[in-house]
């Protein structure tokens, strides 16, 4: 692990180079490189950079007849409309609150799992458990929505077996908002738990065994060792994982919020997030002005957050930062 970090940082210091080759020289030497990079370069221009530039339609009154260039400018009208609707507040609140809940759960539950799993003595069992744990992570969002439906649908297991067993009434989950602030975090944690657990486990694995040996000799209990050795030593990893997620709080998991509540309109108050709002307003209702304003707002605030969090991550460990 150590040697890898070193290899990454030991690049040729610029001082050693005799002189920088001129542009022509470097073109002659590396023309193959430019050719190799061409397909992805062109792809990124089309798939990523053109849409970035296209975001300026947020300041236009776009219509198909006049197209991208011909449509008239209309200043910040789209934004005025958007922030007059009560949706603007709801989708911002939902996106941010759900994401912060997910971050908290993605912290507490996987670390607990990693700590416990490290205490398993039978390594074969540990691996079998991991295999099962990882299953939800690989399921498509559609399968996830099937799984949830199988439990809480009208004929679902909860409604036909579990609730009657306790003598309780059927619950119309897809029509009642109050359940979803629990269901969505539960589903999300079930799905993302293995990813974070593996990351924290590999961080715990790199802790020197000698610390624990010394602690045992001093008579420290398991609980004490977790608190005083394991947790403090994985703090950098924890901070990085949290920051990377905080950077993305303006972006919601479209599959989760669109599919799992089965597009039930009664639930929009607690399930509509910026991404589903943009999709529906644009492709279902065809209102480009409103949706592109929401999209622009998400992109700009999102950029500031991603950029900021990466700046901090870079201060902690350069390897984990994007730039």
């Amino acid at each position: 692990m150590e040697s890898r970090t070193e290899a990454a940082t030991v690049t040729l210091p610029p001082k050693l180079k005799v002189k920088k080759p001129s542009l022509m020289q470097s073109l002659r030497k590396y023309w193959v490189f430019y050719l190799m990079m061409l397909p992805t370069f062109v792809f990124l221009i089309i798939n990523n950079y053109m849409p970035m530039f296209g975001l300026i339609v947020a300041f236009k009154n776009y219509n198909l007849m006049e197209g991208f260039w011909g449509s008239p400018w209309n200043g910040v009208k789209n934004f005025e409309y958007l922030f007059k609707t009560k949706d603007a507040w709801i989708i911002t609140r939902n996106t941010i609150l759900y994401n912060f809940t997910f971050i908290a759960l993605n912290l507490i539950v996987p670390i607990t799992f990693a700590l416990l799993m490290n205490e398993l003595r039978n390594r074969f069992f540990a691996k079998v458990h991991q295999t099962f744990m990882f299953l939800p992570y690989f399921l498509s969002p559609i399968v996830l929505s099937y799984a949830v439906f199988a439990f809480i649908g009208d004929y679902g297991f909860v409604n036909t077996t579990l609730l009657p067993a306790f003598g309780l009434e059927k619950i119309q989950f897809y029509f009642e908002t109050k359940w979803w602030p629990y269901i969505l975090p539960l589903v999300n944690t079930w799905k993302s738990l293995p990813y974070y657990a593996v990351i924290y486990m590999s961080a715990m694995l790199s802790i020197d065994e000698e610390y624990y040996e010394a602690a045992t000799i001093d008579g420290a209990s398991k609980w004490r060792q977790m608190r005083s050795i394991t947790l403090p030593l994985i703090v950098p990893v924890i901070v990085i994982m949290v920051l990377l997620q905080v950077g993305r709080v303006m972006f919601a998991d479209f599959g989760l919020f669109y599919l799992v509540p089965r597009e039930s309109g009664m639930l929009f108050d607690v399930t509509n997030v910026i991404d589903t709002y943009v999709y529906r307003t644009f492709l279902v209702f065809g209102d480009l002005g409103l949706s592109v304003a929401a999209s622009f707002y998400q992109a700009v605030v999102g950029f500031v957050l991603v950029f900021g969090s990466n700046l901090i991550v870079r201060k902690i460990n350069k390897e984990n930062a994007l730039f």
């Binding site: 849409p51 970035m52 390594r123 399968v143 799984a147 590999s202 065994e209 999709y279 480009l288």
Partner: protein, 311 residues
Amino acid sequence: MSVEAIDTKAPGNRANVVSGFPQLLLNLFFTIYSIACILPIILIIAISFSTETDILRNGYKFIPQNFSLDAYKFLFIDWMAIVRAYGVQLFVIVVGVTLSVLMMAFYAYPISRVDFRHRSHFSFFVIFTMLFSGGLIPWYIVYVNVLHLKNHIWVLIMPALASGFWILVMRTFFQNTVPSAVLESARIDGAGEFKTFLRIVLPLSTPVLASVALFQTLTYWNDFFLPLVFITDQKKYTIQYLMYKALSNIQFIAQNPTIASEITRSGGVLKLPSETVRMAMGVMGIGPIIFAYPFFQRYFIKGLTIGAVKG
């Protein structure tokens, strides 16, 4: 089953091991959680093999009261639709994964070379796509109004061809794993840059190529967003999208022309067993991945940790 995962800590000293009853409890806890991870899948499979009347009377059960293949028989009235959806999905995966791994490796190698003059500019060109995104609408306009790809099978492949994340992962791998001495000796032997890349760098990089290929396979297999946004032509539905249709509106299956004519011909005897057919459709979509993934788990986990924390 090959089970390869992150190793738990080897018990270093005997005194510091949780044993006896607590160890038993630990195992019990993880066993219960493991079961919780497969239960939903088992439930979906069980429903698909039940009879519609049992479901309507007693609801979804983990064990079918009367084993029945009715749902599958109904679904396979128009088996062509399912075979076609699998075909589309397979085509998209094979073409998409091959192209994307090659494209990303071709881009990642030059920016991994410290002697390449413009490496930092080209790296930043990738990194910026991860910092800022134009969002759905302009992206949609590019694909539909500029490239005119709506309802074209290419639109299921192209948008996922290159991802900044995997390019950076490959770059780091090339940088750290391929010794510069090897590249140097290849150059002295007179091998050109491209030849060196194909003959030396790629073979040395199979672990990272395998991980990226697997994750791309998963991306293409799990994707429902691209057909949702771009595809209205039923001939180009993927299996995931068929599943989505079946869950959001089960009547969609009865509207299928082949099945509809079969229902009319039966004169009311044949009815859509909606609850079980829906889950049979779900089983169709879960199928392959669930059997494949334990075998590839090692590469998946390697791919996950490679991109995240490097210790």
